[in-house]
């Protein structure tokens, strides 16, 4: 067990953002968090890294847990000149070999001497992933890491993630909007909307009424892409668990 949240609640500006979140992540596991805008996905990550205080509940971390974090938005100011290599060496230096290996694992080889500002969206996300991989993290937190990538780009990115998991054996938690793209690469899906609505195997979650209630519209729009729907919506698959 890498990390475990017990009845975690978070208030920001007197508004309750997260209520009673209980979840745990094991090494070698890929967990995807989905939820509508404002459902507290990023806040959950920020609570885990300690950027926002929890108002109740506890977060247990494995002794000496190393976290690699890829934030949702990272804007590099035009006034700040910085090469990929320098960025990778922040805050502390790593060997040339370690940097090359991390870049390769993230699928971003040979970008070392580029300016961060000049990278394309996909390259930039890969460099962020590479930086998070440095220092052998036990737990990777990816906050909408495929933002701004097209379908093919994000599918490729997720394949890279699952490759990273196989190679490094770390636990991975990612926030995503694109359940249908993530599905094949993920072990467990958590549906978040302030609290945990439902969780379980990806196929089970995408067929659950809770998921439908949250993403119903999306699903109708996407139904053309997914012709082989499960028709017995009322019989819930066995591996589903319900929260609350």
């Amino acid at each position: 067990m890498l990390i475990e949240c017990e009845n975690l609640s978070v208030h920001l500006r007197r508004r309750e953002i997260l209520q009673n979140i209980s979840l745990s992540v094991n090494s070698g596991e890929i967990v995807t968090i989905i939820g509508p805008n404002g459902s507290g996905k990023s806040t959950l990550f920020k609570a885990i890294i300690g950027a926002v205080p929890s108002s109740s509940g506890v977060i247990h971390k494995k002794q000496g847990l190393r976290i690699g974090y890829v934030p949702q938005k990272l804007h590099i100011d035009e006034a700040l000149p910085i090469t990929v290599k320098r960025f990778m060496n922040l805050p502390s230096g790593h060997s040339q070999l370690a940097i090359e290996e991390a870049l390769e694992n993230a699928g971003a080889s040979k970008l070392e001497s580029e300016q961060l500002m000049d990278l394309s969206g996909g390259q930039f996300q890969r460099v962020l992933l590479a930086r998070a991989l440095l220092g052998q993290p036990d737990l990777l937190l990816l906050d909408e890491a495929t933002q701004g990538l097209d379908h093919r780009g994000s599918a490729e990115f997720y394949r890279q993630i699952s490759h990273v998991r196989d190679k490094l054996g770390c636990g991975i938690v990612m926030i995503s909007h694109e359940l249908h793209v993530v599905m094949r690469q993920t072990d467990r899906v958590i549906c978040l909307n302030g609290n945990i609505c439902c969780q379980g195997k990806p196929e089970a979650v995408s067929d659950s009424p809770e998921y439908y209630a949250l993403f119903g519209l999306d699903r109708d729009n996407e139904s053309a892409l997914y012709l082989h729907r499960n028709h017995h919506r009322n019989t819930l698959p066995a591996e589903m668990t319900h929260a609350g």
């Binding site: 890294i49 976290i67 934030p71 990272l74 035009e78 700040l80």
Partner: protein, 273 residues
């Protein structure tokens, strides 16, 4: 050697330029240009304070700047945006400072020398205070560089790496206050922001890494100080403003050079500066 007022002026300005370079880079990267202004305006209040309480000017200015900087940092994000807060605090402290100075009847104060500096009047004691301030700031910069840099890029990335961005911001804020306090004699309250920003902005197009930018800014700042000092001696102009003029001239010339000779720095062309 220190008996010559020109030598003292040279050393003082070089010291300030050295400390201002890395700080100026952070001011530019973090878009805090107005912050430098506000701290400088608070310095006027500091001058009034130290004259009223007859304590050394450095001490009064340092206290006022620190108070201002820490208040703004801790209040930001609580319903006011940074620039609104800075606007309120900076002009309020300037106004209070000016009013306070007018109450000090016994002393005839040459406010001009604090607004624009009086580098040729830098004494031996001033020089030691400047040296001490510069060394503290440079030591802080070297020690906390990576942490402040990562917090500048993204506070959450810093947190995930075990760095507290609030603490780094405080270190930066304190360093800024120290630089403003020690450079008040050199360029004065109104022009300190220029000493911070102009060399850093000039260095940007020539730099590939943050460290390189700080280094080039230091070199540019020092050359502006030395040639400004010389120019003010030759043309008999006020020294502080002359230094800033030379600095601005360097900015204009290097930018022009870039536009005219595109092959100097191929990757930056086509982007707005």
């Amino acid at each position: 050697m220190l008996d010559d007022f020109l030598v003292r002026a040279m050393l003082a300005s070089v010291g300030v330029a050295l400390a201002a370079a890395p700080l100026g880079c952070f001011v530019v990267w973090r878009r805090m240009a107005y912050f430098g202004d506000a701290t400088a305006h608070a310095a006027v209040l500091g001058v009034a304070l130290s004259l009223a309480l007859s304590i050394p000017i450095f001490a009064g200015v340092l206290v006022a700047c620190l108070f201002m900087a820490i208040t703004v940092s801790s209040l930001s994000g609580r319903g006011f945006t940074m620039d609104t807060l800075l606007g309120v605090m900076s002009h309020t402290s300037l106004a209070i400072g000016l009013v306070a100075v007018s109450f000090l009847s016994g002393v005839r104060i040459d406010l001009m020398s604090y607004l624009f500096g009086d580098i040729l009047a830098v004494g031996k004691t001033d020089l030691w205070v400047i040296a001490l301030g510069v060394m503290i700031v440079l030591a802080l910069m070297v020690w906390r560089w990576s942490g402040i840099l990562l917090s500048t890029i993204n506070p959450d990335l810093a947190l995930a790496s075990g760095i507290d961005p609030k603490r780094e911001q405080l270190v930066l804020t304190i360093s800024l206050a120290i630089v403003v306090a020690v450079s008040i004699k050199v360029v004065g309250v109104l022009l300190i922001a220029a000493m911070l920003i102009v060399p850093a902005a000039t260095a940007r197009p020539f730099s590939k890494t943050p460290e390189m930018m700080a280094l080039i800014a230091a070199i540019l700042g020092i050359s502006a100080c030395l040639s400004g000092l010389r120019a003010s001696y030759v043309f008999d102009t006020p020294t502080g403003p002359t230094i800033v003029c030379v600095s601005a001239l360097l900015f204009v010339l290097t930018n022009l050079a870039h536009r005219l000779i595109p092959f100097i720095r191929p990757h930056f062309i086509g982007k707005k500066i």
